[in-house]
Amino acid sequence: MGRIVLENVTKSFGETQVIPPLNLEIDDGEFAVFVGPSGCGKSTLLRLIAGLEDTTSGRILIDDADVTEVSPSKRGLSMVFQTYALYPHMTVRKNIAFPMRMAGLSEEEQEKRIMTAAESLNLVDYLDRKPGQLSGGQRQRVAIGRAIVRDPSAFLFDEPLSNLDAALRVGMRLEITEMHERMQTTMIYVTHDQVEAMTMANKIVVLRAGVIEQVGSPLELYRAPQNLFVAGFIGSPKMNLIDGPQAQKHGATTIGVRPEHIDVVESGGAWTGTVGVAEHLGSDTFFYVHGTGLAETLTVRAIGDVSLKHGDPIQLAPRATEIHRFDADGLRLP
């Protein structure tokens, strides 16, 4: 079990309030991702749940028990740190065994779980090495191994992949997602990378300056961003945001159209412009279009290889049903 509830939780460091009153529910078995720009309070929120920071006010419940005053060691949660935080003086085996030894598990049980974890994480050959002799990816695996052996009610990850190179990151992302599918244990995952959030989460929590901007599944956030911040943050490349007369025509202060919802047409396009940069990826082509009079640059994604190049005129047809409308406060209009 691992149902986590935050009730009116706030956190201040001295005079500065980092988390204004915040309410959040994470259901048992969910893969929740906290995403937002750096410095928005994701780590702080995770550390509040872990118990590594004290709440300034409010309550934290794990499986309906109030743990606000409970020390981190007694909350039954596991954490994987960005810097791995392995014990440098212990071998991989001892690192993984550590939480079990502290919990007083029998030697046999420890050994059994170490082997299971090591096999699933490809660490069998490295059990007798010290962390200093491992690569970044292996260290992160050890940190994950140390987290899973104690059977926590939830896993907490704080940007676990951001110290790895791009190729490894994709591999580890898949491994963690698979691990979640297999174990069905609650996971809370912090990242500033919206691609990680979209690919891994059941539930994305978008944060800005300690405030939850929106909570929802990846597709809910993609299809119906509740405000301009979420609209601009979720999706890659970013949604095109247009204000002015073009927006007023739709009865909004700002309209947003995702690059994949603008078609490149031969003639009769609603918008025209000049190709600035064309990125040919084979499967798709990205155009960065200038001179439309709508925004400085419009990003357009065309399927397949479209052979327009720098300086060519381009005609664009936004799909009317895919236009997002926002009011003067940046909130979504129905």
Binding site: S71, S73, L77, M79, A85, L86, Y87, P88, M102, R150
Partner: protein, 277 residues
């Protein structure tokens, strides 16, 4: 550094000579002390016997037979060892809390602790003497151990704090997440990780305790008197017994010189606060 590197051959030789020169300069008084300890009191003051004299063991024999050297030495060992252990037992949890759970006042407390070292010892000599006498603690091992501990605690906490600061906070937090309590955290993670630093701190603390003279001389008479007191007792105002005094001094500094010799590496690390890796 670049210039030194270019002329590395001469630079290295020069530095070696310089190091030896400074080393010998510092070592000379000890050498002279040991030399004098093998002279009779009469020979010790005669310049013609500066290097050439008939060595005698009389001073050393005299010391063990008449002055009960071993009792003073035992007291020195007991008080220094227990004071060091007690200082670490208090200092490690203290520095741990300051390094990993700092509050707004932590820096001020550290400064305040160090500032106690700025108080002239003489200023509290009379209160201390009266208090300890009226409490019946005068000339007891307990008193000496407490005094040695307390005067070394600030520097020990400072040193440990500096070493603990080098341990990433996440490792300590990982321990907490892994279900270990504070004591376990200190035993399983902190002490193994800061072992080098703790060892050099302990060593330095032990040496300070061993060499302490102001309080050990004044707060003891016989029962808890340390080697410092023995030296002090052999000091004659007329300056007559240089041979005897030298033997006592040599026997007092001897153990610490040997200890220091074997732990050179740790000591250098301790004194430079880990700056030399």
């Amino acid at each position: 550094m670049a210039i030194v590197a270019q002329n590395s051959k001469y630079g290295k030789a020069g530095r070696t000579i310089l190091a030896w020169g400074v080393g010998l300069l510092f070592f000379f008084p000890i050498f002279w002390l040991v030399l004098t300890s093998f002279k009779t009191d009469a020979d010790a003051v005669k310049p013609e016997f500066l290097f050439f004299f008939t060595p005698t063991l009389e001073n050393y024999l005299n010391m063990t037979e008449n002055y009960d050297y071993w009792r003073f030495a035992t007291n020195s060992v007991i008080t220094s060892v227990f004071a060091t252990l007690f200082t670490l037992a208090v200092g490690i949890p203290c520095a741990y809390a300051m390094a990993f759970n700092p509050s707004r006042g932590t820096k001020d407390i550290l400064m305040w602790m160090l500032s106690t070292k700025m108080l002239p010892a003489a200023a509290v000599l009379y209160p201390m003497t009266f208090l300890t006498k009226s409490m019946g603690l005068f000339d007891t091992h307990f008193l000496v151990i407490m005094v040695l501990s307390l005067i070394n605690l600030p520097i020990v906490v400072w040193m440990l704090f500096t070493y603990f600061k080098e341990i990433p906070k996440e490792i300590i937090e990982a321990g907490q997440m892994d279900g270990v309590n504070t004591l376990g955290e200190i035993r399983e993670i902190l002490i193994p990780l800061a072992w080098g630093g703790i060892a050099s701190t302990a060593l330095l603390c032990f040496i300070f305790c061993w060499n302490e003279a102001y309080w050990t001389v004044r707060l003891t008479t016989t029962e808890a008197a340390t080697l410092s007191k023995l030296i002090e007792g052999n000091r004659a105002p007329e300056g007559l017994f240089f041979g005897r005094l030298s033997a006592v001094s040599a026997a007092a500094v001897g153990p610490i010189v040997v200890l220091g010799w074997f732990c050179q590496k740790q000591l250098v690390q301790g004194l430079t606060f880990g700056a030399v890796k």
